[in-house]
Symmetry: D3
Amino acid sequence: MATLGLIEYDRATPEVRAVYDDIMATRKTDYINNFWKALAHDPATLKRTWESIKQIMAPGALDALTKEMVYLAVSVSNQCGYCIASHTAAARKAGMTDAMFAELMAVVGMANESNRLVSGYQVEIDEKFKK
Amino acid sequence: MATLGLIEYDRATPEVRAVYDDIMATRKTDYINNFWKALAHDPATLKRTWESIKQIMAPGALDALTKEMVYLAVSVSNQCGYCIASHTAAARKAGMTDAMFAELMAVVGMANESNRLVSGYQVEIDEKFKK
Amino acid sequence: MATLGLIEYDRATPEVRAVYDDIMATRKTDYINNFWKALAHDPATLKRTWESIKQIMAPGALDALTKEMVYLAVSVSNQCGYCIASHTAAARKAGMTDAMFAELMAVVGMANESNRLVSGYQVEIDEKFKK
Amino acid sequence: MATLGLIEYDRATPEVRAVYDDIMATRKTDYINNFWKALAHDPATLKRTWESIKQIMAPGALDALTKEMVYLAVSVSNQCGYCIASHTAAARKAGMTDAMFAELMAVVGMANESNRLVSGYQVEIDEKFKK
Amino acid sequence: MATLGLIEYDRATPEVRAVYDDIMATRKTDYINNFWKALAHDPATLKRTWESIKQIMAPGALDALTKEMVYLAVSVSNQCGYCIASHTAAARKAGMTDAMFAELMAVVGMANESNRLVSGYQVEIDEKFKK
Amino acid sequence: MATLGLIEYDRATPEVRAVYDDIMATRKTDYINNFWKALAHDPATLKRTWESIKQIMAPGALDALTKEMVYLAVSVSNQCGYCIASHTAAARKAGMTDAMFAELMAVVGMANESNRLVSGYQVEIDEKFKK
């Protein structure tokens, strides 16, 4: 069970409800993830985290799908079960196909492998990569 | 210094040269990264790693630029200095602009933050994310 | 199930019981965590780990509560489910309030975020931080 | 060298200068860390990150010193060289003595050890820790 | 549930069956782990991963048991639940006794501890270790 | 530079010298690594860490070489530069050949890759691995 429990909409303070409302409006859904309901015990963190994610994940130089896949890639690399489950769903909603998922995982796996080969062999950075 | 040192092209065995040649032809460059020169002490690992990366990083359901940015995102999350330096260069060559880099870093940072908030609050996976 | 199973007090050897007794006396409890019951299959590791933790977690230049919160912070950063559950309990017992927990998580999350921003941007250490 | 270079105050835009000014005023210093100068290439991330850190690190249920030590503990656990250097300095400024530093490191080391012993022995969470 | 589900032998394509057959023949078993059944949705990754593991885990300069224990040690360090469960079984099959397991865990725990002590104290690499 | 500096033998207290003497006697060397000289600022941690490592790394169910290679494998997985440099030296001293090193790195790399593939595909643990 979540450390402090989950706060449902009908038990939430106006401050928390305002964030829930913005999440639902922005994501065009009537569902609030457990993540937000857990954070709601700390309204300042709830608000700051949501506003940061809203700003960061909005399409810009990178489109929303690419951002969701990068989020998933990091969560997989960190092996965060909750985050993998929720961001797999989010990436699919943004358009990730099974084929894209499979290629994404292949890249994440290989990056994790080569990161350690580099470290293990104590490879020095090439002069040309130092700019 | 690299644990086993670096093997330059002119000191390499034919088996290693064949991999170096394929790297240069595939990447349209005459430069071999230190990573490959370090791995060359183990020709089986050199060949397997190169062929895996060549297969994985080829455009498919995801384009080459997206793959390079995911590779960079994982390397940043793992804090692998060599990999960050070399894959920043690779991603730029594939078309990553400064604006794309900045947004990529913002996503990587936020994913690492929220991964820990989720774990710390012991948030349970929503039923709807379990399929 | 734990790899080697759990060893309960009544099935334990005198050597293991001596550690269990010291844990209960030191912590003023009659409860032994599964962690110790799992380690009991290797009495040398059980004894060494307990004595190290007993020494390290005792109040000194830092008080017991601060130490428990740091332990929890590291466990959250590493995303160790068991450790988060048990050290949340331990920190609460030492006096951590919900408000302290929430601020602790906010710091852990932000540290994980900024650690990657620093690495991703390849920021060099300021001369003044090198002493 | 930092990927995008560092932006000094006199070359900064008004938007960036406003953040630099707030950092210097809040921290009562005339020094801006390289971290901020690197982020300044992305004013939105600079502003968001600074405002988040300012809010999170302000004394509340936890005092400023405890927060700085937790930040350092996480950075050490993640092995982020820059962050360790800069947050060791920040923690010292906030009052961390050598004795406190040594005890902090002992806790961080032990938490990292026991996190893996728990995982390796596949220890199940005690019912009492599930609430 | 696995993201894309598991592909059983009787629903598998000839390409996937060929890999399954080779796994069973090489490992002298009629059991296919869930890992392979999950990867089977991406036959290229299934084949590449199996062939890499087959090559890497074959006895060479290091025997099969040592390799399985190293695999387990890394999985424990990364805290990957599935990998710990499956590689504990694999290491046992290769000859790991309970006593060997216990010593292995002790080394993994200590390495994780000392890795952080080193980073936290910002210890510089001894000249003699740079070769 | 190390956070608290390094304590050389001739400036060390009798308590620290006793540990240094035991390290040199046990390892049959007259060299003390920087790691110990940094820890010497906290004699309790110095003594506890050395005695733990001495106990853990002594040949038992696993021989000294296997233990050193596992230590190196974990350090590579964690990407701890100092630890990789010092434990590569230690493993070589214990008998690790270049061929053994290369195979070790291949296993470490593959374990890191497959750990993420498993997590990313959300593979459930096979019933048979739960015992």
